[in-house]
Every structure is written in structure tokens, then in C-alpha cells.
């Protein structure tokens, strides 16, 4: 996670650090352009709500009703703002 992004979004943390069972909102994506684009194309773009189902990497997340598995490094590219427990 780049320092600039961390300064821009002080409330946020990378998705890999979000505790299992919690929901969050995607703030920003970092990393390779092609990877960010694929995340957005899968509906995992900025402002999306995401719920992390399982904890230790790789992670399972729910985005828009769809289960996506992300490796630890992939989840580290996604900056989220926690919105509290799942439903």
C-alpha cells in the first residue's frame, strides 16, 4: 500500500487486514493497471461494498452476491474503509 494512498484515506486499511466477517467499502485500488482494471470489471471497483467471509489468506470475499477468492498479495492492493459487521 503506497504511502500517498494511506495519507489520503486515514480511516482505511488494506483488505488483507480487514477482520473476517466484517464489511467494508472499497476506497482505492493500487498496483498494476491491468489487475486494477480486472478488479473493476469484476465489479470490485471503488465504492463497492465487500464482505470478507474467511480470514487467513487466501481470502474469500463477497462482492455483489458473488464469491471471489483473492490471494494475500491481491487483497493488499485493495484499500477499504470498514463499515462494521456483516448485516
Amino acid at each position: 500500500m503506497s504511502a500517498t494512498l494511506a495519507r489520503l484515506y486515514p480511516e482505511s486499511l488494506p483488505l488483507c487486514q480487514l477482520p473476517a466477517g466484517e464489511s467494508a467499502r472499497v476506497q482505492a485500488l493500487s498496483g498494476e493497471t491491468a489487475f486494477c482494471q480486472r478488479l473493476r470489471e469484476l465489479g470490485f471497483g471503488e465504492r463497492t461494498f465487500v464482505t470478507k467471509i474467511s480470514g487467513r489468506g487466501p481470502f474469500i470475499c463477497v462482492v455483489n452476491g458473488c464469491r471471489l477468492a483473492l490471494s494475500h498479495d491481491a487483497a493488499a492492493c485493495i484499500l477499504v474503509e470498514p463499515t462494521g459487521l456483516r448485516k
Binding site: R38, E41, G45, P58, G65
Partner: protein, 717 residues
């Protein structure tokens, strides 16, 4: 279904339809339902993406050609599969006709995500039929999908469907019958910041690259979101003028900080989000449109166990154990049948042909060669039965998920797991399964190490050598299992070590960022599983009948010509073989393999193993003049005894335990399979990588055996 302008009537000859959709949306099921047995499976030339073309009929009996394109999430391709889908739709492939019409299939339970690809395809300016699949699951989840609304909004036919139960097929075939399919009434606003670039690229694409105006617009949009376009063989490159324009825009944006890809995707998702909200009526109580899905809730409960850090491994290990047990035990029965069938065939053909070279060519060259490969058909079918079962239930994605942590240690990701697993049966399907790996470097690394996995052709060699190695006639079970496991372990360890090494050096790249959809668990569809087994089996048999047949004949020739001089009549066959090209080659390589403990006779076996590794056993039979017996077990026992009594010229035994062990280790590491080399050549589109693989694997084998034999000798074994 009003349209702004009707499309020109479909051409008289069978129109070409393309079938496109996300992975896991039921596309193959629909394709099979529409085309039945009228399918042709092949490859796109130069790439290893499977090309499936079938003939379907409209409700009025008109034939049409249906191309099943590989599943894709977006036209901005991330894998060779997706690149083929993109190139066919954009008319970039000379080997495939540009489809006249497109059938898009979308999963109704996950409409928003699926609509992204549909949205890109609507831009192409060709008639589109949208099939909303899995309507039953959507209804179970309490979703009301207003297909008619979507149809009005997009101006195209939208057909609710349950492909797995054959529902909606008649409506789809009626739509296929329509001569006047409307063009999509599709309008979305290209973000203002990007509009000038899009129009400039569009103009250049239609002027310089000869694209139709609407296709040019779609391609212009795509070029902006294809940051590092996956180019595959057979795809027409951009004209220089267009490439220059694209480059200059990209430079301008990178200097002023415009994220053109992000802006475009976001603009599309805004339009899609609006469409989806109007189309899908969520359950009255549910807060979120798809969160209440009952299937998904069940899937989550299964996943809580199946992807659990402990139970996940237990389940995974039991499934793998069952699969291997199936491959190595169950397959024995049909393998016996094939053996007796080939024997019967050999006897009959043998009786028909007059004795002579032609007789020997047919029996010992062609029939024996094909038989040696076809014998593995049952194992391959069982492997694909399990793979099909795991795929259609949705477990396969979980297996990759579980393996990701292990794979990432050596720089690969979970998707390399299936190819490596399949390679335990045979490296050929394993290497073919590497197609789904997105990152080209990971794909190549997987292909390069896959043949280290001990395939079933090595099994007979291991068994013979273990039998020759122990002095008693009954091999103690512990020794046999222990040595066997050791060989499998050595191969696996080699594969991982080299994958790690390649990812650190030759194929250095960022650690792969895995993102993978976990489809909901479903009951397996046995019809689709059987279909896949049939397809794979057919590909395998076809290869046995072409490439392998030709190679067997060549190897037979090398082992039989030139003939020994006439004076040698009545001499034992070993001299005839010694005189042949294969024998001379054995002698020629003897200095090279002597430090490993092998003599020229073993050398012949090593060379002949290139046809298939288990040929080693039959070459040893020929060289040591073992009498063939009708009883397979007796032949094996004779062969074992012959190996035990074989001596070097100085009278010392040839097959000492150390030599047997060294030979086994050689078989673990060496690349000795022409069929695999041929497949790798095709998969990597060139000779560079297969030759590299041949060199590095055989070099590793040599080095390992050298160390083993020399250290063993020094220690007095």
C-alpha cells in the same frame, strides 16, 4: 422490441453465430443443448485455445454455424482464452469468420457482473440475442428478473432460460429463426475526457484498418482499456498509424494523470448499475438484491468446511486419494481389455500378412506403438471424469484456493494445481490444462515443470526395476510402496524446486495476484461430465492415431534397420538390434551414460523410451531375449530374472541395486517423451521451450544419477 434500424437480412448461406459469456454461466451446457453431437473440437492455429464449432438449427430447421467462444469476463483480455474471444468478435482472426450474430449468455443470479461483457458486446454493432440463464436459481433467491424490460431498454431479444433443464430453448431457437434481428439500441455516454481520443482512434481504425464504423468504435474503446494487450498468434496486428495515435494519447494521459481505463470501466458500470436496478426486483424483505440467495447461503456453509484451514486439507486429501486410487486400480480392468483386444488384433493381422518387413512394421511398429499409448485411455478417461465432476460441482475452484498458499511459496498460484495434478496421469492433458493460467510466465513455468510429475507410463518401469532390485522373488510390500513413494516424491520436489528457480530467474515476475470466482456449489451434471470425457478421449485417440503412430513407425525403423549382414543368421536377436540404428545409438551414447552405471543395452532402452517410457520394459525383453508368454505375470517374472542375471563383459552383474536405483531416478527426471515435446511445442508456439525443457530435464536427470551412482560406488554399493 422496436429497433432504430433493422439489421440487413442474414446471408443465405448458414449464418455464423458466436456464443459468448462469463465463465461458469452455463455456456457449454447451452452449446451442447443447441448443437448436440454436431460439434467439431479443434484448436485455434498457433494457440492452445480450444475451438469448438457446431451446427445448430433454428426452430424452422435452418442450419446455422455456432462458435463456442472461451468464457471471458471482459473483452480486455487477461488470458489467451479471453484474447481469442476478443479477436474472433472483432474480426481480427483470419482463421475464423467474423460472427454475423452474437448470442450472449448471462447468469441471471449475478446479472450486474455478467452485463459488463454484454455491454461491451452491444458496442460491436451486430445483432445480439441475450440469454438469461439460471432463471430458476434467481427465482429461488427471490429475485424477479424483468426480461421484457431489459429487452425494451437494449432493443434486442432477451430470452429467459434454464439451459440445464432445456427450458427456454424453443424461444431461443425461434429468435435464431428471425431474419430481421434488430441491432441493439444501445446508448451510453463515453466519458467526455476520453471522447476525442475515441473518435480519433475510431476514424483511424476505419480508414487504416478497414473496420466497419461501429466495430471501429468498439475497438477504439477496447484499445483504451487494454493496457498490456495479450497478443496471441493468428491475430491481425494494428496498423502503424492507429498504434501511433494510441501511443500519443496514452502519453498525454500519463502526463496529466488521467486514468482512462478506470474512467471507462466506471462509466460502463454506472450505465449497467442503472439497467440492473430497473431489471431486477429484489425480494420484498431483503436489503440487498442478491444477498438472500439460498444457494449461496448453502455454498457458504459448505465453504466454511471445504476451505477451512484444517478440514479443507482433510477433504482435499481424501478427494485426491480417491482419485488416484481410481486412476491406478479401477483403470486396470479396462486396460486389461484393451491389452487383450490389441493382442487379438495383432494375432489376426499377423495371420493375414505374409511374414516379412511389412508384417513386422504393422505388428511391432504400428500396432504395438498405438497399443502402448491407447492403453492409457482408461486412466485418462477416469482422470477427466474426476476433473469434470470437480469442475461441475464447483469444488475445483476451492481446490485451487486451498493449494494457492502452497503454490505461492514457489511463485505460482492456485491455478497451476490442476495441470500439475493431471500430469501424474499423463503430462499431455496436464500441459493442455495449463491454458487457464492467465499470467504467461506462470503458464510457461507450469508447462516446463509438469513432466516431472511421475506419469503412469513410468509406473511399469518403476515396478520392473524395483522387482529387479530386491533379491527375493516376492517384493516386500513395504519396500515397493516406499520406493514408489520416493520416486513420486522426487518428481514432485523437482517440479516445485524448478518452478521456484524459473520464477526467480528466467521467468521472473511480480508474485501473481490471484483473483478467482468461486461459483456456487451445484449438483454435478453427469451429461456434461460424460461429454467432456468423450471429448478428451477423442483428442487423445486422435493423437495416438496420428503423431504417435508416425513416431512408432520411425522408432521401429530405427530398431530394425539396417539389417544385420547375412552371415549373422541364427545369431541371437541382440546382435540384430546392436547392428540397427538404435543399437548404434546405444553404443554411441554409452560413454555419456557409463558414469551413471548404464551400458549400451540400457542406452537402447532409454532411446526407445522416447516413444513412451514403458517401452523400456519391452526393449529390455527384446535385448535380453526374454521369451514372451501368454501369461503377463510370467513374462514379467522372466524379464525380472533376465535383468538379474544380465552381466557386463567383465562378468559383474549389470543391474545392481545401485544401477536400478540410478535408472529409476533417471526416469523420474528425464524428459523422454516425444508426445510431450510435441504438445509443448504446440502450446508454446515454437521449438525454443520444448528443446530447453528437453535439455534441462535430461541434464538434471544426468546430474542426479551421476551423483547418486558415483557416491554410491564410493560408499561401496
Amino acid at each position: 422490441m422496436s429497433a432504430p434500424s433493422p439489421a440487413p437480412a442474414a446471408p443465405r448461406s448458414a449464418p455464423v453465430y458466436a456464443l459468448v459469456g462469463n465463465p461458469n454461466c452455463g455456456k457449454s451446457t447451452l452449446f451442447n443443448a443447441l448443437t448436440g453431437l454436431k460439434q467439431k473440437v479443434g484448436n485455434y492455429p498457433g494457440v492452445t485455445v480450444e475451438r469448438k464449432v457446431g451446427t445448430a438449427y433454428t426452430q424452422h430447421g435452418q442450419p446455422l454455424t455456432l462458435i463456442d467462444l472461451p468464457g471471458a469476463y471482459s473483452l480486455a483480455a487477461r488470458s489467451p482464452d479471453e484474447a481469442v474471444t476478443r479477436d474472433v468478435l472483432l474480426g481480427r482472426r483470419a482463421d475464423t469468420p467474423t460472427p454475423d450474430r452474437i448470442i450472449c449468455i448471462a447468469d441471471a443470479t449475478n446479472l450486474e457482473r455478467n452485463l459488463y461483457l454484454v455491454h461491451q458486446i452491444l458496442d460491436l454493432g451486430r445483432p445480439v440475442i441475450l440469454v438469461l440463464n439460471m432463471m430458476d436459481l434467481a427465482a429461488q433467491a427471490g429475485l424477479t428478473v424483468r426480461a421484457d424490460h431489459l429487452s425494451r431498454e437494449l432493443g434486442i431479444p432477451v430470452i429467459p432460460c434454464e439451459a440445464a433443464h432445456g427450458k427456454g430453448l424453443i424461444e431461443l431457437k425461434l429468435a435464431l429463426s428471425r431474419p430481421d434481428l434488430p441491432l441493439p439500441r444501445h446508448a451510453w455516454d463515453i466519458p467526455a475526457a476520453l471522447a476525442p481520443a475515441v473518435s480519433e482512434l475510431q476514424a483511424s481504425l476505419s480508414a487504416q484498418d478497414g473496420k466497419a464504423p461501429l466495430v471501429a468504435r468498439a475497438e477504439a474503446l477496447l484499445l483504451l482499456t487494454d493496457p498490456d494487450p495479450v497478443r496471441v498468434a493468428g491475430s491481425t496486428p494494428l496498423s502503424a498509424a492507429t498504434a501511433r495515435i494510441l501511443e500519443s494519447w496514452k502519453q498525454r494521459w500519463s502526463s496529466d494523470g488521467t486514468d482512462c481505463s478506470g474512467t471507462l470501466v466506471a462509466a460502463r458500470y454506472d450505465a449497467i448499475g442503472r439497467l440492473a436496478r430497473e431489471t431486477i426486483v429484489p425480494p420484498a424483505t431483503g436489503a440487498h438484491p442478491t444477498a438472500a440467495d439460498a444457494t449461496l447461503a448453502l455454498s457458504d456453509r459448505i465453504d466454511a468446511v471445504a476451505t477451512h484451514p484444517v478440514w479443507g486439507w482433510v477433504i482435499f486429501a481424501s478427494i485426491m486419494a480417491t482419485m488416484f486410487l481410481g486412476i491406478f486400480t479401477l483403470a486396470g480392468i479396462p486396460m486389461g481389455w484393451i491389452e487383450s483386444l490389441m493382442g487379438w488384433l495383432g494375432d489376426h493381422v499377423s495371420a493375414l500378412l505374409p511374414p516379412g518387413d511389412f508384417h513386422d512394421l504393422v505388428i511391432d511398429g504400428a500396432l504395438a506403438g498405438i497399443g502402448g499409448v491407447i492403453i492409457f485411455l482408461p486412466q485418462i478417461l477416469i482422470l477427466f471424469f474426476f476433473i469434470g465432476l470437480l469442475e461441475s460441482t464447483g469444488y475445483m475452484a476451492r481446490a485451487a484456493f486451498i493449494m494457492d498458499r502452497v503454490m505461492s511459496r514457489v511463485g505460482l498460484n492456485g491455478k497451476s494445481f490442476i495441470p500439475l495434478l493431471s500430469s501424474y496421469a499423463c503430462a499431455i492433458p496436464g500441459i493442455m490444462a495449463a491454458r487457464t493460467i492467465e499470467e504467461p510466465k506462470d503458464r510457461l513455468a507450469t508447462i516446463l515443470v509438469a513432466p516431472f510429475m511421475s506419469c503412469s507410463a513410468r509406473l511399469p518401469v518403476y515396478l520392473l526395476l524395483i522387482a529387479a532390485l530386491v533379491s527375493s522373488n516376492e517384493v516386500p510390500l513395504g519396500t515397493q510402496v516406499g520406493l514408489m513413494l520416493l520416486m513420486y516424491f522426487l518428481g514432485t520436489a523437482g517440479a516445485f524446486a524448478f518452478a521456484w528457480l524459473f520464477k526467480k530467474t528466467l521467468l521472473r515476475g511480480a508474485p501473481p495476484l490471484m483473483i478467482m470466482e468461486l461459483p456456487p456449489y451445484r449438483l454435478p451434471r453427469l451429461r456434461d461430465v460424460a461429454w467432456q470425457m468423450w471429448e478428451r478421449g477423442a483428442v487423445f485417440v486422435k493423437r495416438a492415431g496420428t503423431v504417435i503412430l508416425a513416431l512408432s513407425i520411425v522408432l521401429w525403423f530405427l530398431a530394425n534397420f539396417p539389417k544385420p549382414p547375412a552371415v549373422a543368421e541364427g545369431e541371437p536377436p541382440v546382435d540384430a538390434l546392436a547392428h540397427s540404428f538404435a543399437g548404434r545409438a546405444g553404443h554411441a551414447i554409452e560413454p555419456l551414460i557409463a558414469p551413471l552405471g548404464f551400458d549400451w543395452r540400457i542406452g537402447i532402452g532409454l532411446i526407445q523410451s522416447f516413444a513412451a517410457r514403458e517401452v523400456f520394459n519391452s526393449s529390455m525383453g527384446v535385448i535380453f531375449a526374454v521369451e514372451e508368454s501368454d501369461d503377463e505375470a510370467a513374462t514379467q517374472a522372466h524379464l525380472r530374472d533376465a535383468l538379474r542375471t544380465a552381466v557386463r563383459p567383465d562378468g559383474t552383474p549389470l543391474f545392481t541395486p545401485l544401477v536400478c536405483l540410478s535408472l529409476m531416478v533417471f526416469y523420474v527426471f528425464a524428459m523422454q517423451c516425444i508426445s510431450t515435446i510435441a504438445v509443448v511445442k504446440r502450446e508454446t508456439a515454437g521449438w525454443k521451450w520444448p528443446l530447453f525443457q528437453l535439455a534441462y530435464m535430461t541434464g538434471t536427470a544426468w546430474l542426479a544419477c551421476f551423483i547418486l551412482y558415483q557416491v554410491g560406488r564410493a560408499l561401496g554399493f
